[in-house]
């Protein structure tokens, strides 16, 4: 469970792991080397996380202005899509989508909220309001 939602992906370990990459050289030899990631590949990783952080921020604004329910925010924060949320919480897909409306979310009972909270690995109080 993470507390600080903004920069969790870029914590101290980001880009610090070395991994094997295979290559094929001019002489026709296959070989492998253990190294840090190249800059080209770093561009891809950064683009990926930039898009995801944008999505999280967008969802946060939507929830704060009352256009979406907190489930949308937590869905983006846990990198899930509606199908994954449905599988995590055990609630059918169309009901998950129905609960994206703030007015519907307000009327949800404790049992359903608990299911969502368990799926997202947070408490019910955290689910009800976002930072």
């Amino acid at each position: 469970m993470e507390e600080n939602s903004d920069t969790i992906w870029k914590d101290g370990r980001f880009g610090k792991s070395r991994e094997i990459s295979y290559y094929y050289d001019q002489k026709g030899q296959y070989d492998k080397k253990v190294e840090f990631r190249e800059d080209t590949v770093k561009v891809l990783v950064e683009q990926h996380w930039d898009v995801i952080n944008d999505r999280i921020e967008e969802a946060r604004q939507k929830v704060l202005t009352g256009k979406a329910s907190p489930i949308v925010f937590y869905m983006e924060k846990t990198l899930a899509d509606p199908i994954t949320v449905s599988m995590m919480s055990g609630i059918s897909l169309w009901r998950v989508k129905w609960h994206f409306k703030p007015s519907v979310f307000k009327r949800l009972n404790e049992k359903t909220l608990k299911k969502y909270a368990d799926g997202f690995n947070i408490s019910v109080e955290q689910l009800k309001k976002i930072q």
């Binding site: 094997i20 990459s21 295979y22 094929y24 080209t40 891809l44 683009q47 990926h48 990198l79 899930a80």
Partner: protein
């Protein structure tokens, strides 16, 4: 019950999680089988493109086979006595089964979800449930894990291990575990190599469905050209980035595992003195280099997202060319007799 067990298991880093795991397990039982060999015999190589299924908000594209294929097939083709337990209904039961195995001295492979793995590099964090790792010991409530993505062995607590083994989402692992019971000393690797190549060739060019294998590469090459008009530059570059991430990043084999497969062909060719295999290994190496080149060119578009530097039509043409190059390799492999 809470006895400390640590099995003398050698951890080696590898490019692809499942073939690395398989090859490490073989090494534990005294059979020298390198990672590329396990990858080739177990049909690790694959290509599928499923535009209507979205993974991480982009069309699904995969360079690897379904989970557990590499282990299951390499055991079948080599004729090794092994056990795969597909699922446990009760998480506690699965942990008891794991403990029992450890006490018997059997290192046990498991399918896990990546999202909650605590030691995993944060940039790989996603709902991906087809990862494989081996548990080889228990000490004071901590489980010793050999994960082939990491450079060194890691530890996980009981609670975390249950959480990753019962990760939710598509392809949920449900506590799947597998291990080798015993290995004969004289394995018939030659036949296994031959059968493995036949199966890979079948999967890459002979399946009568347009989105799998070489046909899938051709299909995506057409789609890439349409992306900027259909979705706009931002989204097109995100989709392109996802393909490249799958090819270069996730699974870390590099260039869609074509390098590992080429290394397998080369090793097999040297072992059985087969020039045809060596020639196709050379071709495969060139295909892999072309994939990597494609990744480098495409990454420039990902850097400047709103104004693409490279033309998407040109990228599509490169993909089409790669499809043609791969088809030649598989047709060549189809005729080889080992």
């Amino acid at each position: 019950m809470e006895k400390n067990v640590i099995i003398d298991y050698k951890h080696r880093q590898a490019g692809h999680c499942e073939s690395g795991t398989t090859s490490n397990l073989f090494n534990f039982y005294g059979i020298e089988l390198s990672e590329p060999m396990a990858f080739g015999i177990g049909n690790g190589l694959y290509f599928s493109y499923i535009p209507f299924l979205k993974v991480m908000f982009a069309p699904m594209i995969s360079f690897r086979n379904l989970p557990n294929t590499v282990f299951r097939r390499s055991m079948k083709y080599l004729g090794v006595d092994s056990t795969v337990i597909k699922k446990f209904d009760d998480p506690k039961e699965s942990m008891i089964a794991l403990d029992r195995n450890l006490e018997k001295g059997i290192p046990t492979g498991m399918q896990v979800g990546v999202y909650d793995l605590t030691f995993f590099p944060p940039e790989y964090r996603m709902h991906y449930n087809m990862h494989n790792m081996v548990c080889y010991g228990r000490e004071d409530g901590l489980y010793h894990i050999s994960d082939t993505v990491m450079e060194h062995p890691q530890v996980l607590s009981y609670k975390d291990l249950i959480r990753v083994r019962y990760a939710k989402g598509p392809f949920a692992p449900k506590g799947k575990m597998y291990w080798i019971n015993n290995v004969k000393k004289d394995l018939d690797i030659k036949t296994a190599v031959s059968v493995g190549i036949k199966k890979t060739v079948y999967e890459m060019i002979k399946i009568p469905f347009p989105l799998l294998g070489v046909k899938g590469i051709r299909w995506i090459s057409k789609d890439v050209k349409k992306w900027p008009k259909k979705f706009g530059n931002e989204k097109a570059s995100f989709y392109l980035g996802q393909i490249l991430r799958m090819a270069e990043e996730v699974g870390t084999g590099g260039a869609g595992f074509r390098y590992i497969y080429g290394a397998f062909l080369k090793e097999a060719g040297e072992r059985y003195k087969n020039d045809e295999l060596l020639a196709s290994s050379d071709l495969m190496g060139k295909v892999a280099n072309r994939w990597r080149e494609f990744a480098y060119i495409g990454a420039r578009n990902c850097k400047n997202r709103s104004e693409p530097k490279e033309d998407y039509g040109m990228l599509g043409d490169i993909l089409h060319e790669i499809g043609g190059m791969e088809e030649i390799v598989y047709k060549k492999l189809d005729k080889i007799k080992i």
